[in-house]
């Protein structure tokens, strides 16, 4: 009996894997044409014989060919999925386009990630009760609303794209059937593993889950499903729901649609590409469901959380991401496969060299977000081992070393410095008893650091205090109206912002205009720096003056939009609705605070900030929680991490960590 059960499992896995890798191998030519080594002389041959050779066919000749780069061709018809659809010459390498089809991607990628989910050990069963019937239907509706809202995104590459609900439209019928199928398999798999989800969640940094041809993420769907379950089981936070509904209603009332399409690029799967009413409704609902879903999973998982296991999984995930980054940079074939099967937001790096001598992101979309993750893994291990007396094992020590190497490669100095600052803060808190002395030492430390920095780097406050406004003005289209002086410099070059304000200011974004007026027209109070000048001065040493300057140059909200935002994940409106010199390429705000200002307005940011401060105050005795939160939130100020689903999930985990800490403490006391 046991033997036959093992055989069935083996056979099922074998069939699934065959189904997943099959299209790349068995979908090749009939043998009439011979695949050649891909080089300059054979480009014409492959251009003539498009959709002729499968990836498996050409691999025989090109497995170790490092002159090529494999890229997905989203325009592909179903027949050409997994086949060579084009080859182009470029100065760096030969680009080989592999056909990928929207309908096949959905089923193959989802099945792969479902197989990965089966690797989570089983626990006691979670009874989804009523939700069982709603989950598949809910998933299909969510998918349909998403595709309808972002149809401009799909119409660019899919000729078959048609959302008409008719019995002859097999395009949408197959997508709906696939989503339904995936969700019923998912709910069967997850009910046995539900209580282990938090213990194994760090692996979402390895298996990103972004679909190749959809602006959707597999984990977004999963978390949304948990959000639906949370609503059905009435386990959502009423205060959060009320505030969110109020803010979203205002966003919807004031919403003005357009046909503009935003190239989501590396934000694929967690950012709206369109400005249609149904797309904004989808993202408002999805954001709520995801957040409620994560909190629901944390709350439900609390009695089953094993901190030692989470810690180990954090370290393992960090190492796996790093090692996969190295492997995929060595082989172009593995690079493409890791992109497809791990659901990366963009192709991993194809070199071990850092970009312009700067950062190396491996398979991650953002070196910054990845650096934060590595640093978090290390800090989490150290803090938990210290506070909960969980001894670090030899294996963990080795994993820490690898995570340090990975952190070094991402070159995220902010993560390292904030980690060290955290250590100093802790020592101060632990060694010094009186609050007065603590504050005095802290003040002296900050003062010494600032003075040392000024001495070492020739920091010029006069320049730094204006650099933010200068960078913002530099991207506006006002410079054509400005006259230049005898050495050819205009008012922007000279940072003469008062002169600029005398001109027609309609070409300056409302936010930049506001901060410029605040800077120039507010009368200074002696010894107290102007807030705009202070933020600008701080932005220089942390290398954010240009990025934040560009943000102000582009961010042009109305009063209502400033107060309540454009809506969750609506970076498109900020990006495309105000004409500046930078309207192409993905230039992000480079601060999660600024990103959330765009999404939820100043009201949303302040609500979030006060909530965090309230939690920190309420759990001030909980050192693990305070240290982890401060570390993570400090990093968010200068990074865009919350624009990625993985980092967003980690943020929600950190914010809710006080619940986990309570449980762990309780266990220890018992």
């Amino acid at each position: 009996m046991l033997e036959s059960k093992k055989q069935i499992i083996f056979l099922t896995y074998g069939l699934l894997i065959l189904m997943i890798v099959g299209p790349w191998i068995f979908n090749g030519n009939s043998g009439e044409k011979i695949p050649l080594i891909i080089e300059e002389s054979s480009i014409g041959y492959y251009q003539t014989n498009t959709c002729e050779f499968s990836m498996g066919d050409i691999l025989k000749e090109n497995l170790f060919n490092r002159e090529v780069e494999y890229l997905p061709d989203l325009n592909s018809k179903m027949k050409c999925h997994g086949r060579i659809n084009g080859v182009d010459s470029s100065p760096e390498e030969i680009k080989v386009y592999i056909g990928t089809n929207l309908n096949i991607d959905l089923i193959i990628q989802s099945m792969t990630w479902l197989i990965f989910l089966t690797l989570i050990p089983k626990t006691k069963k979670k009874n989804f009760g009523m939700s069982r019937k709603i989950i598949p239907v809910g998933a299909v509706i969510l998918f349909y609303v998403h595709m309808n809202g972002e149809r401009f995104y799909y119409e660019v590459f899919s000729r078959e794209f048609d959302l008409a609900l008719s019995i002859n439209n097999f395009f949408i019928l197959s997508i709906m059937a696939s989503t339904f199928f995936i969700s019923i398999i998912f709910q069967d798999l997850i009910q046995d593993r539900f209580y282990n989800l938090i213990n194994y969640f760090p692996y979402i940094f390895l298996i990103i889950g972004a679909y190749n041809s959809y602006n959707l993420n597999f984990f977004l769907l999963i978390l949304s499903i948990f959000g639906i379950v949370a609503i059905i089981e009435r386990k959502v936070n009423i205060k959060f729901t009320s505030i969110y509904v109020c803010l979203s209603s205002i966003v919807l009332i004031t919403f003005e649609g357009s046909n503009k399409l935003f190239d989501v690029d590396k934000l694929k799967g967690f950012s709206n590409s369109s400005e249609t009413i149904s797309s904004i409704v989808f993202w408002i609902v999805a954001f709520y469901l995801i957040t409620s879903g994560i909190v629901f999973v944390i709350n439900e998982n609390l009695p089953h959380i094993d901190l030692k296991l989470i810690r180990y999984n954090f370290l393992m995930a960090g190492c796996a991401v790093f090692i996969m980054g190295i492997i995929s940079s060595i082989s172009p074939f593995i690079n493409f496969m890791s992109y497809y099967y791990f659901g990366l937001n963009k192709l991993g790096m194809n070199t071990l060299q850092s970009v312009k001598g700067n950062t190396w992101r491996g398979i991650g979309a953002s070196a910054e977000a990845l650096g934060e993750f590595y640093a978090f893994c290390i800090i989490f291990t150290i803090i938990t081992s210290y506070f909960y007396k969980h001894k670090i094992t030899r294996t963990e020590l080795l994993l820490i070393c690898l995570n340090i190497a990975a952190l070094y490669r991402t070159n995220n100095a902010a993560a390292v410095i904030s980690g060290l600052a955290l250590g100093v803060l802790y020592l101060l808190d632990f060694k010094v008893q009186k609050l007065k002395n603590k504050l005095l030492i802290l003040f002296l430390l900050v003062l010494t650091t600032v003075l040392s920095f000024v001495q070492i780097t020739d920091f010029n406050y006069e320049y730094a205090s204006r650099s933010l406004l200068y960078e913002g003005m530099a991207i506006t289209k006002i410079d054509t109206e400005l006259g230049s002086n005898e050495i050819g410099k205009n008012a922007i070059d000279n940072s003469n912002f008062g002169e600029i304000l005398l001109l027609d200011t309609s070409k300056i974004s409302s936010s930049l205009l506001f901060v410029t007026k605040f800077y120039t027209e507010t009368s200074d109070i002696k010894y107290i720096p102007n807030p705009v000048a202070l933020v600008s001065a701080i932005s220089v040493p942390i290398n954010r003056s240009q990025k934040w300057g560009v943000f102000f140059g582009k961010y042009n909200p109305t009063v209502s939009e400033f107060l309540f935002g454009y809506g969750p994940q609506q970076i498109n409106r900020y990006y495309l609705n105000f004409n500046t010199k930078i309207n192409t390429g993905l230039v992000l705000p480079h601060s999660s605070v600024l990103s959330y200002l765009v999404f939820f307005g100043i009201t949303g940011v302040l609500v979030f900030l006060f909530y965090i401060l309230y939690l920190l105050y309420r759990h001030r005795e909980n050192r693990v929680y305070c240290l982890l939160s401060i570390f993570f939130l400090l990093n968010l100020v200068k990074s865009d991490s919350v624009l990625y689903l993985q980092s967003f999930t980690l943020m929600v985990f950190v914010v809710n960590f006080y619940k986990i800490n309570k449980v762990v403490k309780g266990d220890k006391d018992e």
Partner: protein, 103 residues
Amino acid sequence: MDELIKTICGNSNEVFDPVKIGNNPNFVFINDPNFETIILYDADANIINVNSWLECANYVNGGWSNELIDLFNGEKYLFIMTILGIVSYSVIKYIKKRKNKSA
């Protein structure tokens, strides 16, 4: 492209000059009785019979092909296969459930 023309239309001593044909709105393809008629299809499954090598080369150059790739309705097959998958999965699950109950 030359390779593709050769594959679909065959070899010929004629010289195909797309610019010359494109610049002359009154250009007429003359039927070649020695040329076996070839059926070509475009992306929308339109059909054309070409009766000379030059005519064939001109259409192939414009993206026509002798294979009707687009009539393959992959989505339909995928839909049927997925439905079969759902049914099989549900049946297996049902049998398993009954087996567990009886055990």
